[in-house]
Structures are given as structure tokens and as C-alpha cells.
Point group: C2
Amino acid sequence: MDEFMQAAIAEAQAGLAEGGIPIGSVLVHRGIIIGRGHNRRVQKGSTVLHGEMDALENAGRQPASVYRECVLYTTLSPCPMCSGAILLYGIPRVVIGENRSFLGEEALLSSRGVALEVLDDPTCIELMRRFMAEKPALWNEDIGE
Amino acid sequence: MDEFMQAAIAEAQAGLAEGGIPIGSVLVHRGIIIGRGHNRRVQKGSTVLHGEMDALENAGRQPASVYRECVLYTTLSPCPMCSGAILLYGIPRVVIGENRSFLGEEALLSSRGVALEVLDDPTCIELMRRFMAEKPALWNEDIGE
């Protein structure tokens, strides 16, 4: 598998091991990971640090020129908040582990010219399937439902 | 002026006094402020804590039923990221200090049923006008330009 999706999955698994929501992400600039992250709702009581947001936060302050050459990898289809962050920073390409468990704002991203690739990855699907079955209330909280 | 927009402006002014970007926000549930925040790009090196995001973060973990009864006050028109967060959590109403300095995703929010009120407030306008003139590079960084 793609080494970057592998890194995003490793982040998701780290989150799960911490008792958190197993969604991970990495931000890649010119073939180098500049930010890694995973959902921090449980760990930090955070409502804004979804996996993608945590990766963006950990990448630190970057000029627009860097974001415009980045690819964001995420184990799950990006929600409205994370999709909005992708649009804000003009990230041109997003690689998505799967969108069976949750379908985010892929149509909006595509309509704004963001290139999307959905891998339909079995590891990503299984991580979410198990989590959603075990902790449905926590999952609903994370997506505002 | 509305006490909640006044509280959002006080947050923006606090951010300015810290050397930061003067945008503030408060999240109000049934007439009570449950989260206050301001942009933390400079103060925390944060790329995700815009004013609205900081207010949401400081409100802590809330059930969907609370968000659905909230009003978000922000001194400036919400960017794509903050608009996405509003959609994620299903916040039904947003009061915006001004949208002359920056027009965010108001059309998207309206199309999804979010009620918007733009106050065109002179204090909010002047805060941004002065900041954008004094620190244009910092402002551009904050909006990914």
C-alpha cells in the first residue's frame, strides 16, 4: 500500500490505542510528511481536532505556496469542517481511505476543483466498522449527530 | 449593541492586544455564552484556531442537541473552515459582525439552511481595516492566500 496512507492508518491505530476515535491523517508536501495527526476528541476533549485538522495543526504555519503543493491523506471521507479546511488552504488533492462508513463533503470538494481519490481500503473500513459498532454515541458526537 | 456581539468584539480586541489577528467569536446556547474564542495563529502557532473554531473548542464537547439550539457570533464573515464547522455541528444561526473585509462561505451556509445576520458593524470593520493594512502578510496567511 501507499506509504502515506499507511502512515495515516498508523495514526488512526494510535488514536484507537489511546481510547480515541480511529481516524488518522497525514499532510504530504513534495513527497515528505510535514504533519501527522489523529482525532483528539477523547484524548484532549477537542471538538475541532479531527484527524485531518490535527495533521494540519501539527504541520504548523505554512505559506499558501506550500499548501498548494500538498496532498492530504485521510483514513475516512472528510467531514464538512475538514473539507472546509482543505478549501481554506487550497490543498489540491485528497486521498481518502474509505467513504463507506461516512460520506463527507466529497461533492463540494470536487465542485471546487479538489482532486479526490478513494481507496476503499479494507483496513480503514474495518477500523471504523468496529469502532462505530462499539461506541455509537461517541461516533455520533464526533459528526454532530 | 447586542451583548453577544460585544463579547465577540472583546475577544477580537484581546487577540489584537496579544499581537494576534483581531477576530473573535462566542457560542451562545439559550442566551448563555458557553464558549468564547479568538484567532490563535500568532499566539499558539495554530492553523486551525480561527476565532470561531477557538470558541467551539472552548465550549468543549457538547451533544448535537445543544449545538442545534446555539447561535454563533463572529466579528468577521466565516471562512470555509469555520463554515464547515458550523455545518458539521448543525448550528442553525450565525450573527456576523461584518463581511466587507472578507466574505466567507455565506452563500454555502445559506444554501444549507443556516440563518445569517450581518450587522455591518463599524467597530468590527475598523478592527480588520487597520489590521489588514498593518499586517497584510499575516492576514493572507490566515486565509490561505
